[in-house]
Amino acid sequence: MNEENYDFSKVEEKLRFEFESVSEQLVVRKVIEYQLINEGLELYNLAFVDILEDDSLSDLSVTNNRDMPKVLATVYRSMLIFFERKPTARIYIKGSTPSRTRLYQIAISKYLEEFQEKFRILGFLGTDVLPFEKGTNYDSFIVVKI
């Protein structure tokens, strides 16, 4: 994924990343946070939210900043940094809405060959976990570093 991406303004020990999505009309602060959700599996949840003007967080706001590839490339870069720090960990990803999960799926499918050089992707259908395949609509995903 060689898309242009944003610089992080902050990288903290608790695996929280912040950056700004910038357009001529709008600047939106965004947070990516990785939180351990299952110690035995070393599984971390990826939460991705916007910081609104009143400084509250939202996982449902629609930015319309026309920079989705750049934003997704930034999320991807945060994953690379995450795995540099925690190479044996796994990341659980689910969009805040079905359409956002679908957006992640489209991005994974688009760059699947490149992803699979570094990662193994699993998809959840209900509570069943399967190897990721293009054309299947998964409910959520797990990324494992190879």
Binding site: V31, E33, Q35, I37, N38, G40, L41, L43, N45, A47, V49, I51, D55, S56, L57, S58, D59, R90, Y92, K94, S96, R120, L122, F124, T127, D128, V129, L130, P131, S140, I142, V144, I146
Partner: protein, 51 residues
């Protein structure tokens, strides 16, 4: 208002904002944790180990 009072107000505001952030993120992480708790962990472990 004394400078210290202003500092305390700012500090309290910052704490409230941090709490707001924590609530939303905590909920998202808790939702994910609750989902994984429903999954057959043995099957998931096997899937994670496969090359």
């Amino acid at each position: 208002m004394k400078t210290q009072d202003k500092k305390n107000m700012l500090s309290n505001k910052q704490k409230a904002e941090n709490n707001k952030h924590t609530d939303v993120l905590t909920q998202k992480h808790d939702d994910a944790k609750a989902f994984i708790a429903k999954v057959d962990i043995k099957k998931l472990e096997t899937a994670l180990r496969q090359n």
